[in-house]
């Protein structure tokens, strides 16, 4: 088991490096850098000025070298101008002598956000924490509901119960969040219907989560994700219910309830488990719409801001986090899969 984990983590690191490199290349393409130069310097810079600005700020070297610097395995760039003043990646103000030679993600230097005027690392972790809260409640609501729905629909295929539950799950998944969110706000938070049970904005939930201010965003995401997992669970459940060992159980005289709970459930959960774990990274990026709609300033909202304002360092920071979250959840899902399914237990 330990070797299995070590190997998996090794593969994960390789994947992380490959993925971040791709994101680095895409965000550091030449036209993008020109935009950064004009944003930082002067909108009306000439082409020559842009080139010299890029040179002064360490953007004129090869992509691989810059990626190495960003990662922190290659010494940061320095630039000595005509006046003899040294600037560089790792040099903050004037203390060029004390600065480290390397400063990248590995050293904990994630760069500086040009939009928020803060350290990228601080922004990312603060926003991630807010989104984690949202995700936690979504999971708490979505997973049990989806499993119950899927199992109930799948245990007797083709019955009226199956068809109505399947319709519900298809309908919720087919409704995009920006539609269901608006409907929910209109029904439960506005004076249009008059049921003013909840608040239409979740801004206050960033400090203090209450039933009133957090229900609508959570329900909006949960509804959308639920149908998908429920459909997977149903498919898996119907398949299990037709297997021979379920027939064995039935002909042993096991009651229907016990067949579902003791014999079918565990086998039926193996397939949806992977899907549920895949939902975590999906939630992380998929919350963009809901966070914007309910003005909840979490990770997704930050991502939108960073992309909209060409904030390269912040975008990179966000993508690192996203990559790590995806890989870690996949590791957890593989380990959990082994746990659920004794056939592939590692000896």
């Amino acid at each position: 088991m330990a070797i299995f984990l070590l190997r998996r983590i090794g593969v994960m690191l390789l994947t992380a490096i490959a993925l971040t490199f791709i994101v680095f290349v895409l965000t550091n393409l030449q036209p993008n850098l020109e935009k950064v130069a004009k944003f930082q310097g002067n909108v009306r810079m000439t082409d020559e000025e842009v080139t010299s600005w890029l040179g002064k700020n360490g953007y004129d070297r090869s992509m691989v070298a810059r990626y190495g610097e960003w990662l922190g395995v290659v010494p940061g760039w320095t630039y000595t101008d005509d006046a003899g003043k040294v600037t560089g990646r790792c040099i903050d103000d004037d203390n060029a002598d004390q600065a480290q030679t390397r400063c990248g993600v590995l050293q904990g230097e994630w760069g500086h956000s040009i939009v928020f005027k803060e350290d990228v690392r601080d922004i990312v972790f603060k926003r991630l924490g807010l989104t984690a809260k949202l995700m936690f409640w979504v999971m708490i609501l979505m997973v049990p509901m989806a499993l119950v729905l899927g199992v109930l629909a799948g245990m007797r295929e083709g019955t009226r119960l199956d068809r109505s539950l399947s319709t519900i799950s298809i309908a919720t998944t087919a409704t995009p969040e920006y539609v269901s969110g608006v409907i929910l706000i209109a029904v439960f938070a506005s004076s249009a219907v008059g049921l003013k049970w909840f608040k239409g904005t979740a801004t206050s939930a960033m400090d203090d989560i209450t039933f009133a201010n957090f229900t609508l965003p959570v329900v909006t995401i949960a509804l959308y994700g639920m149908g998908y997992i429920a459909r997977m669970t149903r498919a898996s459940m119907t398949e299990v219910m037709t297997t021979q060992y379920i027939r064995t159980a039935r002909l042993k005289g096991v009651s229907f309830t016990n067949i579902v709970l003791k014999h079918a459930l565990r086998n039926a959960l193996i397939a949806p488990f992977t899907v549920i774990m895949l939902q975590i990274p999906w939630l992380l990026n998929g919350v963009v719409i809901v966070e914007t709609l309910f003005n909840y300033k979490g990770f997704g909202w930050t991502l939108v801001q960073a992309a909209g304002n060409n904030d390269v360092e912040l975008l990179l920071g966000c993508s690192v986090v996203a990559v790590i979250v995806v890989l870690v959840t996949q590791l957890i899902s593989d380990v959990g899969y082994v746990f659920l399914n004794p056939r592939i237990r590692i000896s």
Binding site: I3, F4, R7, G158, T243, Q244, Y245, R247, T248, A249, R250, L251, K252, G253, V254, S255, K262, H263, R266, N267, I270, L340, N341, P342, R343, I346, S347
Partner: protein, 693 residues
């Protein structure tokens, strides 16, 4: 609980009809089926696949699914009509009064539940006993089914057990609440011959010990002869003949029963003394059954205007109240008439040696963990195989699963390369040539017929196109028209109508598909054809036809046929020489007569004794091998067979455990790999003898 006393028959099925309902039509699966099982009696139900025998079993269990319904007749269990019971009453009976054993043990055990839990569940539901008591009972029953280390068994998951052990667990599960009726649905089809013999032995003993009545469903007449008291033969949804084993085996009164017996090979006879007679035609589909007698169109005694005029009822056979047949003409047919003498076929000339194999070894290195390596282990799939195959010869390779016969085929085909040793085809070494590096001539001269015709044809290509494709690969014919002409010739060769060229594989029956497979193998004028269990997936009545076809083509083309099989009956029938393999070793090699008569290798002896023979006049020596075949990953030291050998005690000084025996030659190419002295081997009696002669 719900066990009640009743003096009459355990099971009475009276004029039962079961139909499945689809959107299109009603499909009758079982029609007018009657059978009675008395206490302690074992009833056999025999028929080909699709004849409705499993439907009867599920009908008794009242588990026909959403589409199935009993449309007529009654099923009475101990005097009570099962179809009138409420779901609760049925649940009480299932598992406690009627238990079932299934065809595929792996699929019928819950993969995510420990064996112990699955066993304990039965008495806990039906008798309401406590967990600890159930555990004790489970331990007892698992010991009864002769499984080693019962405690460890109960704590294992199904996938950790071998196929034979899983089937014993399924049997144990059925016996947990001491049922009155046990339904066995092809319980040994998925198992090896020696394992099958042990399981059948066990079922018989347990039936006696617990006094259970049995309904034994099988397509294997030999097995039924060994296990049952009475027998019911089914054809296309109807019972065609019913009676005691002796009645049916020795005094059959229905043409189908007779045809069935004539189409199965026996290990006591070869192709010249008792040629197989294939049943002409195909099994009718349920909605295409003929009017009148269902067997009519395939029957030798068919009389137009009489056999197809209306429903035929069961007629009792005079002088024997419990023997009846569904034939109008059974009085008129001379059942003792000898078989019309089939054309005596001379075995093809055996020519010069073509294939020479010397000390061939194939080792695999496998990691303990499939995904990420770990410690390396060596699987010795083939150990020093040496033999020569001649032109026009049929060499059978016999052995149970895991003996390395398929690995050998792969090495020969070039799908794997040999670790050591040599394979010479016409003097040319090919053991290190993978299939990609073989030239067209070589590829087309070494071809294969596969076991499962259902998976080896591309489902989205017409039959003709697939054969033409093979011809293209073998670079035969200069134009599309030429290849098409050759393809039609090939269809003639395998006796398929030329119109089949434009059909899709799904429109063909299993036997027809296998014919296409054979046509494809012989497309490039193959010199050597490896037939890997070519008929084992087919129904009994078409096996004979496909076997005969294969031999006929072989005779004409002078092909060397390497016939891989686990079925000794068919091996005896068609092969010139036999090679017996066990755990990668060739343990015996010789002509068919040499191998089938003493002196035997101890494994050959056990293998022969394990084959069920559908002939009441045959007496067999009863040899049951204990345990399973050891894993090739972890073979025993010394002789590979020493863990199960009954003769081991005869060899002094534990030689069997230390050294691999040398190959001993008994003259005429008969080789045996055993430590037994020659005089000891000569004391062996023949396994199969005729009682009457």
């Amino acid at each position: 609980m719900t066990k009640w006393d009743y003096d009459g028959p355990i099971l009475e099925i009276d004029k039962l009809s079961i139909s499945f309902f689809t959107r299109l039509r009603e499909i009758p699966a079982v029609m007018d089926f009657s059978v009675t099982v008395r206490p302690g009696e074992a009833m056999g139900l025999v028929g080909e696949s699709g004849c409705g025998k499993s439907t009867v079993a599920l009908g008794i269990m009242q588990d026909l699914g959403v589409n199935g319904r009993v449309v007529g007749g009654s099923i009475k269990f101990k005097g009570r009509d099962l179809s009138e019971m409420s779901p609760e009453e049925l649940r009480d009976i299932r598992g406690s009064e009627i238990a079932m054993i299934y065809q595929e043990p792996m699929a019928s055990l819950n993969p995510a539940m420990k064996i112990g839990q699955q066993l304990m569940e039965v008495p806990m539901i039906h008798e309401g006993i406590s967990k600890s008591e159930a555990w004790k009972r489970a331990l007892e029953v698992v010991t009864d089914v002769r499984l080693p280390d019962p405690k460890r068994m109960l704590n294992s998951y199904p996938h950790q057990l071998s196929g034979g052990q899983q089937q014993r667990i399924v049997i144990a599960m059925a016996l947990m609440s001491k049922p009155s009726l046990l339904i066995l649905d092809e319980p040994t089809t998925a198992l090896d011959v020696t394992v099958e013999a042990a399981v059948v032995d066990l079922v018989k003993d347990l039936g006696k010990k617990y006094g259970t009545s049995m309904l034994f469903i099988s397509h294997n007449l030999g097995l039924v002869l060994e296990t049952c008291d009475r027998l019911c033969v089914m054809y296309s949804g109807e019972a065609v003949e019913r009676g005691s084993i002796q009645d049916i085996f020795d005094e059959m009164q229905h043409p189908y029963t007779q045809a069935l017996f004539r189409s199965i090979p026996l290990p006591t006879a070869d192709k010249n003394s008792r040629p197989l007679v294939a049943i002409p035609g195909n099994f009718p589909l349920p909605h295409e059954r003929p009017h009148g007698c269902n067997f009519g169109p395939r029957c030798d005694y068919f009389e137009a205007g009489r056999c197809d005029s209306g429903e035929i009822a069961m007629h009792p056979v005079a002088g024997n109240e419990r023997h009846s047949t569904r034939c109008l003409k059974f009085h008129e047919i001379d059942w003792q008439a000898p078989l019309a003498k089939a054309i005596q076929v001379e075995s093809g000339e055996i020519g010069r040696p073509i294939l020479e194999i010397k000390d061939l070894k194939k080792y695999y290195e496998v990691s303990a963990n499939a995904l990420f390596g770990g410690s390396q282990k060596v699987v010795k799939a083939n150990e020093t195989i040496s033999f020569t195959a001649h032109e026009g010869e049929t060499l059978a390779i016999v052995g149970e699963s895991g003996c390395g016969k398929s690995t050998f085929a792969k090495v020969l085909m070039g799908l794997e390369t040999a670790t050591e040793g040599s394979i010479r085809l016409d003097g040319q070494s090919i053991e290190q040539l993978p299939i990609e590096q073989r030239d067209t001539a070589l590829v087309s001269s070494v071809q294969m017929v596969f076991q499962n015709p259902f998976d080896t044809l591309n489902p989205s290509m017409t039959v003709g196109r697939q054969i033409v494709r093979a011809l293209e690969i073998f670079r035969i014919g200069n134009s599309e028209a030429e290849r098409r002409a050759r393809m039609l010739e090939l269809l003639d060769l395998v006796k398929l109508p030329r119109a089949f060229a434009d059909r899709m594989p799904r429109q063909l029956s299993g036997g027809q598909k296998q014919r296409v497979g054979i046509a494809r193998a012989f497309a490039g004028g193959a010199r050597i054809v490896v037939a890997d269990e070519p008929v084992s997936a087919l129904d009994v009545s078409v096996q004979a036809a496909v076997t005969d076809l294969l031999m006929e083509i072989q005779r004409e083309e002078k092909t060397t046929l390497l016939f891989i099989s686990h079925d000794l009956s068919i091996v005896r029938y068609l092969s010139d020489r036999v090679m017996v393999m066990y755990l990668g070793h060739v343990v015996e090699l010789g002509s068919t007569d040499q191998v089938f008569s003493p002196p035997y290798h101890p494994y050959t002896e056990a293998l022969l004794s394990a084959v069920p023979i559908a002939d009441t006049s045959v007496q067999k020596k009863h040899i049951v091998l204990e345990g399973d075949i050891p894993s090739a990953m972890n073979p025993p030291p010394g002789c590979p067979f020493q863990t199960r050998c009954n003769w081991k005690s005869e060899v002094a000084g534990g030689l069997c455990e230390r050294e691999v025996p040398p190959i001993r030659d008994f003259g005429d190419g008969h080789q045996v790999k055993c430590h037994l002295r020659e005089d000891q081997l000569n004391t062996m009696d023949p396994v199969i003898t005729f009682a009457a002669e």
